[in-house]
């Protein structure tokens, strides 16, 4: 061969599918119900399980009698999560699962169980640092210093002290956590709602004391995970155990309240900040102490990302975790960047106001301390500002020209994320008839993973999407990493491009030999093999040269070959109104400018951004876990009082993909997390701009807005 063959993406201008807006290939299946989620699996003889949970914040099991449940008609078995003497650490802890012929019978079984508790003292006020200290719940969670903060404070032009916070939220997956487990002999098949198809058979095997080779995990479609579905959970293991013991398939999905309480939360954060700047707006010192909770162990928002996204010369940071009787945390989309952003960039906005400067100019002035991304941020700021008309619409905080009670304001924030490729192994088969399929133990969380893989294969082979089949969602396929951290798109697209190019080169060699042309000049386009502009043969004829068996090629990743990359930035700006008589906030326009390397499918990429903005607007305005100090309970664990934004609440969303050739040339980078990071700070800053008052804690509910307005200027 004359030319060295290197894995690479083709010239951008030649792409037929890559970078275009292409609908999800499983969209119709999902919209029509043909796509089956774990919560849909109902094989013959399936039993349905329901859970008894404890409704106390902290307690000890005094007595527990599940026998009455077994006497309820239809009930086939029970599984005990707790025994007498066990401690209950938070509202919603699982006590017993009951499996029955119908869901109603299982409910009746749950109600028949007799359980008594000894109530213990609880602590659930995660914002109350002093209360946590008094209750002995506080634990130091780290500190970190650099430079000379005290000296910098002395010479600074302005010093601002602020207090800010962001409440805990739950993952609130549309499809709750759970599984359908079925045994055939010693073989377990678990339809699991998971982000981690390849990584979960071992979890079942360990808990069931069986060989992992006898476990198959299926996860074809997921109704949301957001970081909370890597483990099978005690409910998953209980489902498998009951299936084994009862000799019947069992389906156990969490009910909505339990989903909210125990299946995953994003930690809260509350911060006291002293920030200082020179006369030009350059921030010279940052000194902060923040606290909050990730659950019973304390923890919270790791301090490494504060101040976000800046790394100032002089900074001191300290973190305290408060152990609270609340359900455990799980990674939530871009952990812990959304909180770090909401705790940091509000202070930057406030010191800009104190300096009498446009927030934009202060964010811009400090870009050098963001590191390598500074240039991209600057470009993205320009694009976002133009789209939202920042220069024309911005006014100093509190100086809205609006006469009535409704005040308009602008705010901005910026973010970063890694998004490097995760591990992926795939097995690509090119059939002698020219059709193509791939097998991989990855999963499509709804983000478009199937579609992206199909685009990469179809583009590489010069085929229409319909010629490609993507088989994922089984742990019997080659291992792929769990989907979290925005690592999937890089992982799967890199591995598939490699496998597809390897396969294509083999086919080119066969074509070259048969048709006496140079393999170096061949290209696969439009269902043909081309030599320059001449058609050598059809794709199908070429594949026929492989022989009677399919050509099978393994793809691997990640590999440092330029197909993929990591590190993204992103800038967001919002234009909103605050009704100062009701505290209600209305989003007019929300602009996101996002870089993410080479985009495989612009439509699904934009979908990721829009989804991130909607989640971000929601946690900024209405979504929070509300813990009741009196009862120790998660008092709003229902879809009425756990308030999620609807289409009317989000305003006009504009997703601009930052796509100069320099981004294309970087290769594929993950995008799932970053767009959800900035909305909290951006919205808080816009409210401060509109009203002249900082509403310190997110979400910005009417109560918090009116309380802050009553208190006056921050």
């Amino acid at each position: 061969m004359a030319t060295e063959r290197k894995h690479a993406w083709g010239p951008r201008k030649d792409n037929v599918l890559i970078g275009k807006s292409i609908q999800r290939i499983d969209g119709v299946g999902k919209a029509s119900g043909a796509a089956k989620f774990s919560a849909d699996i109902n094989t013959k003889g399936t039993l349905f399980a329901k859970l008894l949970t404890c409704k106390l914040g902290h307690a000890k099991v005094k007595s527990l009698d599940a026998e009455p449940a077994k006497k309820i008609p239809g009930v086939k078995g029970v599984h005990l999560f707790k025994k007498v003497g066990d401690e209950i650490r938070w509202d919603g802890e699982l006590i017993v699962a009951v499996a029955a012929e119908t869901e109603d019978q299982a409910e009746d079984g749950v109600k028949a169980i007799k359980v008594e508790y000894e109530t213990l003292e609880h602590f659930v006020d995660e914002a109350d640092l002093a209360g946590g200290e008094k209750a002995g719940r506080n634990k130091p969670a780290g500190e970190n210093k650099k430079g000379d903060v005290e000296a910098a404070l002395k010479t600074a032009k302005v010093v601002h002290k602020g207090h800010y916070g962001i409440a805990t939220i739950s993952h609130m997956c549309l499809e709750p956590h759970g599984s359908h487990c079925e045994f055939a002999g010693d073989q377990l098949t678990a339809h699991l709602s998971t982000q981690n198809v390849s990584g979960t058979p071992g979890q079942f095997a360990e808990g069931m004391l069986m060989d992992a080779k006898n476990v198959t995990v299926i996860g074809n479609y997921e109704g949301g995970g957001f970081g909370s579905k890597f483990a099978i959970g005690e409910w998953g293991l209980a489902c498998a155990k009951m299936a084994k013991e009862l000799g019947r398939p069992v389906r156990l999905m969490l009910d909505r309240a339990t989903e909210l309480k125990v299946a995953g939360t994003r930690p809260s954060g509350f911060i006291d900040v002293t920030i200082a700047a020179d006369a030009d707006g350059k921030i010279v010192a940052w000194d902060s102490h923040h606290w909050g909770t990730a659950g019973i162990g304390g923890g919270g928002v790791a301090l490494g990302q504060i101040p976000y996204v800046y790394d100032f010369e002089n900074q001191s940071r300290r973190q305290t975790g408060i152990g609270c009787n609340v359900g455990p945390n799980q990674a939530w989309r871009a952990p812990p960047h959304p909180q770090a952003c909401a705790l940091s960039q509000v202070a930057i906005d406030d010191i800009a106001a104190k300096l009498g400067k446009d927030s934009y100019d202060v964010f811009l002035k400090n870009l050098p301390s963001t590191g390598a991304k500074a240039g991209v941020y600057e470009e993205e700021m320009k694009i976002a500002a133009k789209e939202i008309d920042w220069k024309a619409k911005w006014h100093p905080h509190g100086q809205s020209p609006d006469k009535g009670p409704i005040k308009r304001g602008l705010g901005m924030a910026m973010h970063k994320w890694g998004g490097g490729p995760g591990a992926c192994n795939c097995n690509v088969k090119v059939h002698p008839d020219g059709s193509v399929e791939t097998f991989l133990g990855s999963q499509d969380l709804g983000t478009g993973t199937r579609t992206v893989i199909a685009i990469v294969l179809a583009e590489t082979f010069g085929l229409p999407l319909s010629s490609v089949k993507v088989n994922l969602g089984s742990s019997k396929y080659p291992n792929s990493a769990g989907s979290g951290g925005s690592i999937t798109v890089g992982g799967v697209s890199g591995a598939h491009r490699r496998a597809a190019q390897d396969a294509l080169w083999k086919i080119f060699d066969l074509v070259a030999e048969k048709y006496k042309v140079s393999a170096d000049n061949l290209a696969a386009k439009g269902g043909n093999i081309l030599n320059g502009k001449d058609v050598v043969c059809t794709w199908k004829q070429a594949c026929g040269l492989v022989g009677p068996m399919p050509l099978e090629v393994a793809g691997k990743g990640p590999v440092q070959d330029g197909l993929t990359n990591n590190s993204v930035g992103g800038v967001q700006m919002v234009d909103l109104s605050v009704d100062t008589e009701t505290g209600l906030i209305r989003i007019h326009k929300f602009v996101s400018v996002q870089d993410c390397g080479l985009i495989i499918d612009e439509l699904t990429a934009k979908s990721q951004v829009l989804g991130g903005l909607i989640m971000g607007i929601t946690y900024a305005l209405s979504e929070e876990r509300i813990m009741d100090n009196k009862t120790g309970r998660y008092i709003n664990a229902d879809l009425q009082n756990y308030k999620l934004a609807r289409i009317g609440d989000i305003g006009e969303l504009v997703a601009i993909m930052y796509q100069p050739d320099s981004e294309y040339d970087r290769g594929v980078v993950g995008l799932g997390e970053p767009p959800v990071i900035s909305p909290g700070a951006a919205i808080s800053n816009a409210v401060a701009n509109a009203t002249g008052v900082r509403v310190p804690v997110l979400p910005l509910t009417p109560k918090r807005v009116l309380d802050a307005l009553k208190g006056g200027r921050a």
Binding site: E107, T582, I635, N641, A645, R646, I647, K703
Partner: protein, 331 residues
């Protein structure tokens, strides 16, 4: 869900007879938009559920000599499309603000009047009054959504009815059937609601065997304007944080008489006579509406976490009045 008997009467008399059984452990099923939630959580445990949807006499709106008679089974969508209700703007505005197709299709006017509170202590099993071992959980707990009026007794929740403020402002009456099959009474709607002193008392005057069959509304006079203003946090299905309805009778632009009723601020719909006193004899302007709002909340008694609702109530009154006068300008 506990087992229960299901009955589906065809007449009001049959319904009364079916409800007047099991020592009052019966429940009325109309639209079912909330009853199923209550049943699933064991918050109500009737031995018999009486489905009144097939009682034809309780459907539709009919003109009567001095007004209109609205069947209790009238849905929210019916309210919006019924020509006989076109002049009752404050009522239509409520229906229009329920942003859920399912509730608008299935929810009924009678059902709305009989809703149990949305108080999260009640819904989480601490009884109608939100108590644990006889002590109120609300006073020192999460009371940001609770009452700012009429909350000195054990009841701290807010009435869940969205239509009652508008109906009361119009001087509506409820037609109550039962407990005897032939027993019928007509009661001013403001006397229908009860602030319970015990959890067993319920939130309305209805006794076992009684149910609401119709709502009577007086003829909408040409010099009466009405409006409702609900403070809703979300654009989707959501419950108001506070609301006010006003009916204003004017002559040459001057308010002769008015009725102003709050929703979602007290255990019952809450009439503000202070607001009316501040308004009568004046033209509705930004400043008189503001003064009426101020007067309306002057005697509020907020709990530890709901001071902000005083401001919301004040604004609701002001904006309901301005809306009635056609002077509400909102972005």
């Amino acid at each position: 869900m506990r087992p229960f008997e299901y009955a589906s009467p065809r007449t009001e008399a049959e319904a009364a007879a079916l409800l007047n059984a099991y020592d009052g452990h019966t429940a009325v099923l109309a639209g079912g938009t909330d009853l199923f939630n209550l049943l699933k959580r064991d918050l109500v445990t009737p031995q018999r559920v009486v489905d009144i949807k097939n009682i034809e006499s309780m459907r539709g709106t009919t003109p009567v000599s001095d007004g209109v008679l609205v069947g209790a089974l009238t849905t929210l969508d019916d309210i919006l499309s019924e020509p006989l209700l076109a002049d009752y703007a404050s009522l239509r505005q409520v229906a229009d603000a329920v942003h859920a197709i399912q509730i608008r299709d299935n929810g009924t006017l009678g059902g709305d009047l009989c809703l149990l509170p949305n108080c999260w202590y009640f819904r989480n099993g601490y009884g109608l009054l939100g108590q644990d071992r006889g002590q109120s959980l609300v006073n020192e707990g999460r009371n940001e959504l609770h009452a700012i009026f009429g909350n000195r007794g054990p009841a701290k929740f807010v009435s869940a009815s969205r239509f009652a403020p508008a109906l009361i402002a119009w001087g509506a009456r409820v037609r109550i059937v039962g407990p005897a099959s032939d027993q019928v009474s007509l009661l001013p709607l403001e006397y229908f609601f009860v602030t319970p002193k015990s959890a067993e008392q319920g939130v309305t005057v209805l006794q076992p065997g009684q149910f609401v069959s119709h709502v009577w509304l007086p003829t909408a006079a040409h010099n009466v304007a009405s409006a409702t203003y609900e403070v809703l946090q979300l654009e989707g299905l959501d419950w108001p944080l506070a609301a006010a309805s006003a009916c204003v009778e004017t002559s040459a632009g001057i308010v002769k008489d008015a009725r102003i009723v709050f929703g979602h601020v007290a255990p019952t719909p809450w009439s503000s006579f202070d607001a009316v006193a501040a308004l009568v004899g004046k033209e509705i302007t930004e400043s008189t509406a503001q003064a009426a709002g101020d007067a309306a909340v002057a005697r509020a008694t907020p709990l530890s976490e709901n001071e902000y609702k005083v401001q919301l109530a004040r604004t609701a009154v002001k904006r309901a009045l301005l809306r009635a006068a056609g002077k509400l300008e909102m972005a």
